[in-house]
Amino acid sequence: MINVKNLSKKYNNKTVVNNVSLNIKKGKITSFIGPNGAGKSTLLSAVSRLIKHDVGEIMIDQKEINSWKSNELSKKVAILKQSNNLNVRLTIRELVSFGRFPYSQGNLTQEDWEKVDEALSFMELHDIENQFLDELSGGQRQRAFIAMVIAQDTEYILLDEPLNNLDMKHSVQIMKVLRRLVDELGKTVILVIHDINFASFYSDYVVALKNGEIIRQGPTNEIIEQGTLKEIYDMDIPIKQIDKCKVCVYFA
């Protein structure tokens, strides 16, 4: 479990995450939604120790985040940031193999390479695994980063807008992969996502942030609802039921 209690974070006296408390359920997909600047990335970065929070506590499996050894935590929690402007010339395969660093410190064993291959297959990247990152399209690069995080084989996988740069087909592919990671391998996925329809289709829980505060959280069904969305986005978003799924028609 990841438990966040009374978490606050300020930048230059401006509170960007304000007294946030939440519990992330194991073995589920939890989506963070909310308008730009709501504090989603900041919250995710704090939970993955990329930034230090000011007030409050973050417990990862009953242990405060700062008392984890960094190397141990890197086998437990993986994070992929919103933008990764890397300018290193690595091949996809090399990049993904660095996901095994917490286990092998760079000297990969047979088992490590198996995990690398598995991650590459999961993301269907074998065809282009020997291409350099700086010669890929934005979407291909994004998939390579996700493959690296999968190779890291952590219980918790945190992704900040993983659908950035992806076309519809690959967006669906990634969401399905995340679903498989959760359903088949028992991982826990937390992601920030803007397209509320993807959140609606694929996540178990939704946490809605606005102005640094959680304004609603709960099972997806309860959040994807006209009144709630109005509260979050200040927009009237009609919702249509198609088969078992709720589709938000937010274009007008």
């Binding site: 890397l86 290193v88 690595l90």
Partner: protein
Amino acid sequence: MIAMKIKYLVIALAVFSVSSIFIGVSGISLTDIFHLNEFQQQILLHSRLPRLISIIIAGASMAICGLIMQQLSRNKFVSPTTAGTMDSARLGILVSMLVFSAANPLFRAGSAFLFALLGTFLFMKILDKIKFKDAIFIPLVGIMFGNIIGSITMFFAYKNDMIQTITAWLQGDFSMILSGSYELLYISIPALFIAYLYANKFTIAGMGEDFSINLGMNHKRVVNVGLIIVAISTSVVVLTVGVIPFLGLIIPNIVSIYQGDNLRSNLPHTALLGAVFVLFCDILGRVLIYPYEIPIGLTVGVIGSGVFIYLLLRRKNYA
């Protein structure tokens, strides 16, 4: 394919090494090798071999220093010449001569090392503060930074009548290498070996602090280890050979183009290519105006700046 390239580099190194031994004013020819007279033996052992060894170590060292710096700063144009490292080492040498006038070589090396480390560290700190991280802008800042340190060196050298002595270190020169004066360079070998052990960590550091944290790696410590290696190697090279410009800049860039940025597999290529390139320039400098010699700093500088401009122009196409 990659293994092939290593093979070519090794062959080139072998061919150039042999040529290097047999080129020089006092003739030693291949056929003499089994019945050398005493004079020829002396030349071989005390001049030609030390020269060859120092070229190889210096070439490999400067190329690898450049590679490490580029990875750690995440900028392809940062190197010992474009980050003030060499200028700082020279200031260190001057300070050691001023403070302990009869300094032994180790003292000098220590002082050069400390200054090189501080200078590079300072430059990395400046880098952190710069908001405008254009790939070209940063080495320009580095060159200016180096020039400032160079001016300080010159100022104190002038005040103390040491201009002559200090300019000797301005331009790399292998013609003065004799046994007894170059052994300090061996210090660079263990440093390069440690660089190889840290190769994967440097690669991760090159992906940025967040990537490092995610993979559970202590980014700061790895950067510090890298800078220490760079400072050690640069200072012993400057102390024994002098400044070899551009080497740390162009060699890693060439390797990166065909080979990528995975340090573990790049390091051997970079080291070999660095050694081959310096050997080639050295031989060129010795035959062009035979029986005189063009100092290595000049040959490498001229060829290197040409390659540098080419790299700048093709920058748009990659990275």
